[in-house]
């Protein structure tokens, strides 16, 4: 048996400790060990972005990170962004603007978009397309994904202004 190592992760604010082989891919840790099945496995070859999560403030394809690399890290998955009762602004916007069809790419799309809006709260359409280039969708043709993100951006900005 290959050697296991002690791993500590904080995922969506909750800490987890377990033993794992260092070669375990982070996407498998999340889906199979922690039962967080929001992040999906689309290509498993670093291309589609369906597995995107946030690791220490970076958008990361979790099929291309070993659990050992993430040891000690703070992670956010789609489950940490919103819930059915209290959805994230992006989740509501995707629903209202038809930003999804089959929904397979959506957790990765929204997780990535949340980081994009954090770094650039007022993106142009072009900046959204460029900033979302690591996420593939086989259904929507992207048009409504871009619309959803634009709508979420104005919603978030309006909320910010109202708070000031």
């Amino acid at each position: 048996m290959p050697k296991k190592m002690h791993i500590e992760l904080t995922v969506n604010g909750k800490s987890h400790e377990f033993l794992a082989e260092p070669r375990e891919l982070l996407i498998h840790t999340l889906r199979e060990r922690l039962n967080l099945t929001g992040p999906h496995i689309g290509c498993e070859t670093s291309h589609c972005g369906a597995c995107t999560v946030i690791v220490n403030g970076k958008s990361v394809k979790s099929c291309t990170m070993f659990v050992a690399q993430a040891n000690g890290a703070d992670l956010t998955t789609i489950e940490g962004l919103g819930t059915p009762d209290a959805p994230h602004v992006l989740q509501t916007a995707f629903r209202e603007h038809h930003g999804l069809q089959c929904g397979f790419c959506t957790p990765g799309m929204i997780t990535r978009a949340s980081k994009l809006l954090e770094e650039n709260p007022n993106p142009t359409e072009e900046e959204i397309r460029f900033g979302m280039a690591g996420n593939l969708c086989r259904c929507t043709g992207y048009q409504n994904i871009v619309k959803s993100i634009l709508a979420a951006a104005s919603e978030l900005n309006a909320a910010k202004e109202a708070a000031e």
Binding site: P2, E21, P22, T45, M65, Q69, A133, G134
Partner: protein, 284 residues
């Protein structure tokens, strides 16, 4: 897509890295962002018994612009390059090139050190560093040494770096004049079918100096001395550009692969170089 098992290390200093590399020899490998290495390990094209993660090693992460010289620590990511106002002011070609590498997720992880040390002819930074006449600093059991980017690459995945050495930084003189990084790829996130890095200095109406390097058109990046020389002393008119392109064609050796036949790659090489020269000259 599960890689072979390995022992994992995360040393905090370079001494620890070198000691592990000496102890395990060929069986050990360093990992930076892992976005070239992990895909290879998943495909079992690389089996590494001892994996040394550089993420906690002190002193590899700075960007400094000082006295006209720019130094990037090996662990500086493509995302950090794009984000750096100091680099944008001192060497804008870096941002232009980094924006054409991979996609946002990959750029948060991919490092300059991993990109130039990897030795994959498809990587964009090696040609860029040859254009800038950069120097790589390597640290090994016998101390540190410097190697010019222009003499670092021997063949695909064969570089001047010894297995027991780590690349710690990349440095170059702040470039002057106009610049362009032009890349032809099949889709966003793809490696280059052909790419050109160009820096040009203007004196009045005349080209005072030029540096041209090409990516993914041979088994190493190609700095074309003859193409660079073809522009110097000219007004960079159509005839001069054609001469530079012809000189570049004599220095590359593209081969057929899934990006197309060799003749198509030569066509793409001519197109990207022509565009890059025109843009760099406009900016000079």
């Amino acid at each position: 897509m599960i890689p072979a098992a390995f022992d994992y290390y995360r040393p905090k200093d370079m001494g620890g890295v070198i000691a592990l590399l000496q102890e395990h020899g060929d069986d050990a490998r360093v990992m930076a962002g892992g976005h070239s290495l992990i895909p290879m390990m998943k495909l079992r094209m690389a089996e590494i018994a001892h994996l040394i993660d550089l993420q906690d090693v002190a002193g590899l992460d700075g960007i400094t612009v000082e006295g006209g010289r720019i130094t990037l620590g090996a662990m500086v990511t493509q995302h950090q390059i794009i984000d750096s106002a100091a680099l944008l002011a001192a060497a804008p070609i870096l941002r232009e090139a980094a924006l054409q590498i991979a996609d946002p997720q990959v750029r948060y992880m991919g490092t300059v050190g991993g990109n130039v040390a990897n030795g994959d002819p498809g990587n964009d930074m090696p040609g860029l560093m040859q254009c800038l006449d950069a120097t790589f600093t390597l640290v090994g059991p016998d101390g540190s040494r410097e190697v010019a980017a222009r003499s670092f690459y021997h063949a695909a995945y064969m570089t001047d770096r010894d297995d027991s050495e780590v690349l710690t930084s990349v440095s170059f003189a702040a470039p002057r004049g106009g610049y362009a990084y032009e890349k032809q790829k099949r889709k966003i996130g793809d490696y280059a079918t052909a790419a050109a890095a160009v820096q040009i200095e203007k004196n009045g109406d005349v080209c005072a100096s030029a540096s041209i390097a090409m990516t993914n058109l041979s088994d190493t990046p190609v700095w074309s001395k003859a193409a660079s020389a073809a522009l110097v002393g000219t007004t960079v008119d159509d005839a001069a550009i054609a001469a530079a392109v012809a000189a570049m064609q004599a220095d590359i050796e593209p081969v057929e692969d899934n990006r197309g036949p060799a003749a198509f790659k030569r066509h793409a090489a001519a197109t990207v170089l022509t565009r890059a020269i025109r843009r760099a000259w406009d900016r000079a």
